[in-house]
């Protein structure tokens, strides 16, 4: 069985007498070390899918298995990088990572080892210099880096990124994409990233999962991206394989599953 196995997952939200079927028959296998992007129009339930994998939301039908264990509740083996960084503003950058490290590694690592581990993870995202700053004192891109460091520091089996760069400007976003690619190359983590940016999806992912429009969205198509790593954004821009993959995603999003503003 695959490392992460999502089988026949269905999610229906019930509020009072209203039933809203968000996801239907989601079927996906992800191998260890794979980088998967999930793309789709807004409202297609891609964040819901991520929350299901994270365990923050319960599945209605079907099941999710990670490394042989059924996903039932959230846990540090499925660390999430949230869209708006969600660092605790009253803690310094160091303490934000420390909160996670202390919780996950208490009893497994000594105090000195935990300290080194925190700094090591801040180094991975090049944020050691801001260790004593509070989230309010650093830029949005830096906050998101710290959010990634906090998630990495939990040593998750799978790292879940929920539109991590959606709120950033294009240049900062490119820097962070490079940072994530670099981390993926060095650590070989399994990563699942939600995005609505076609270039981001193609550049970062081994496979792109394309979602149909909601309600009752499902996986419309899965595209392999046969680009060699390490990838370089400038070289990729003229690479035929990149352009072909990009075109396939665009075609899926704008021809086969055009987004129609939902009239509620």
């Amino acid at each position: 069985m695959a490392y992460l196995n999502i089988s026949h997952v269905e999610k229906t939200f019930v509020t009072g007498a209203k039933r809203a079927e968000v996801l239907r028959d989601i079927q996906l296998d992800i191998e260890k070390g794979e980088f998967v992007s999930i793309i789709g129009h807004s409202g297609c339930g891609k964040s819901t899918l991520l929350n299901l994998i994270a365990g923050l939301t319960d599945v209605t039908k079907g099941g999710i298995k990670l490394d042989g264990y059924e996903v039932k509740a959230p846990g540090p083996d499925r660390a999430v990088v949230f869209q708006n960084h969600s660092l605790l503003p009253w803690l310094t950058v160091y303490d934000n990572v420390k909160l996670a490290v202390d919780k996950v590694f208490r009893g497994k690592k000594s105090k000195a080892e935990r300290h080194d581990w925190i700094l090591h993870n801040l180094d991975l995202v090049q944020m050691r210099h801001a260790a004593d700053k509070r989230p309010g004192e650093i830029s949005g891109g830096m906050r998101q880096r710290v959010g990634i460091a906090r998630a990495l520091a939990m040593e998750p089996k799978v790292l879940l990124l929920d539109e991590p760069f959606g709120a950033l400007d294009a240049l900062t976003r490119a820097h962070l994409q490079d940072a994530v690619m670099d981390i993926h190359a060095r650590l070989g983590n399994t990563m699942i990233m939600i995005t609505h940016d076609v270039d981001e999806a193609v550049l970062l992912a081994d496979r792109i999962v394309m979602m149909t429009n909601g309600p009752a969205a499902t996986i419309g198509d899965v595209l392999d991206v046969p680009l060699a790593r390490p990838r370089d954004r400038i070289a990729a821009a003229t690479d035929p394989a990149y352009l072909k993959a990009r075109q396939a995603v665009l075609r899926f999003l704008y021809e086969r599953h055009r987004f129609v503003e939902a009239a509620e």
């Binding site: 959230p74 949230f82 708006n84 969600s86 605790l88 009253w90 803690l91 509070r134 309010g136």
Partner: protein, 295 residues
């Protein structure tokens, strides 16, 4: 007619430009203050001026022979010792106002302290649970409108002693805003912080200290600030009835012995201490919530 035409003759009547160039040779003397002194002056001079005016009006209004209230000068003549020596001790019942204020503050510290701890805990529980909220909120909304002194007879009956009764009155007065504000703060904890706690699998106690209290701190402190103000209101009133050596009883005692000037001095004390309490809590709040209000 417009203003311009009226002004024209004036401008024409001014001295020629050449003489103006002579002005810099004799600069006007101007008080130059350093930054901090300027700030201090801006904040202290206007209220001092206003106070002087009020005192003057008061002096004039009540200086007629046979008026009911003493004038400021009479207050000074008869009660200067209270103002100048807050910490004298002439006997067990004859002590300076400073000591009396401290006695009252001690009671406030107990009552308000208990109210803070229990209020924050109850508020946290209510904020976390929608059902507790639905069940308890209406009761709290009713109880919080009960005036402090209305609790006193029940409290006296329960404790059979004036000291714990006074402390209980403060407790029961201060606790409602603390509960209600804490609950509001906990309800407003962003979902993101809760998700972080879930992913990290923080237990209830870790969640309380690491997420809930810091996240709700701004709300909690606005509750504490209201609470400390109400405590001070309540203690003065409660002491009038329960006796003892507090500032509230001093006022009642002074009224019974017709020392109106002493009462006026005591009122100023109460006002200033109340202001200090408020500033103190809001200062602590500012320091503690430094991080939370950012970002």
């Amino acid at each position: 007619m417009s203003v311009v035409t009226k002004l024209t003759p004036k401008t024409q009547g001014l001295a020629p430009v050449a003489t103006i160039s002579a002005l810099p040779s004799r600069p006007r003397k101007r008080l130059v203050l350093p930054g901090w002194a300027k700030g201090l002056a801006v904040n202290t001079v206007p209220p001092l001026m206003v106070m002087l005016v009020i005192l003057a009006i008061w002096e004039i209004a009540f200086s007629a022979p046979g008026s009911n209230l003493p004038t400021p000068s009479v207050v000074w003549m008869e009660s200067a010792d209270l103002i100048l020596e807050p910490f004298y001790v002439y006997g067990s019942q004859d002590i300076g106002l400073g000591w009396r204020v401290l006695t009252s503050l001690e009671r406030v510290a107990y009552g308000f302290g208990f109210a803070s701890i229990i209020g924050i805990l109850i508020g946290a529980v209510i904020g976390q649970s929608i059902w507790m909220m639905r069940g308890l909120d209406p009761i709290f909304q009713v109880l919080r409108t009960v005036p402090p002194l209305a609790w006193l007879p029940i409290s006296l009956a329960a404790f059979m002693d004036s000291r714990p009764s006074a402390i209980f009155v403060i407790f029961i007065t201060a606790i409602w805003p603390i509960i209600i504000n804490t609950a509001a703060g906990v309800r407003n904890i962003p979902a993101d912080y809760r998700n972080v706690a879930k992913v990290l699998r923080l237990n209830q106690i870790e969640f309380f200290f690491k997420i809930m209290v810091p996240a709700a701190a701004p709300y909690i402190f606005s509750g504490l600030r209201i609470g400390v103000g109400l405590s001070w209101l309540a203690i003065v009133a409660a002491e009038m009835l329960t006796g003892g050596v507090g500032i509230g009883f001093f006022i009642w005692d002074a009224w019974n012995s017709s020392r109106l000037t002493d009462i006026i001095v005591a009122l100023v004390y109460i006002g200033l201490v109340g202001l200090l309490l408020d500033k103190l809590v809001s200062f602590i709040g500012r320091v503690v919530t430094r991080g939370t209000s950012e970002a």
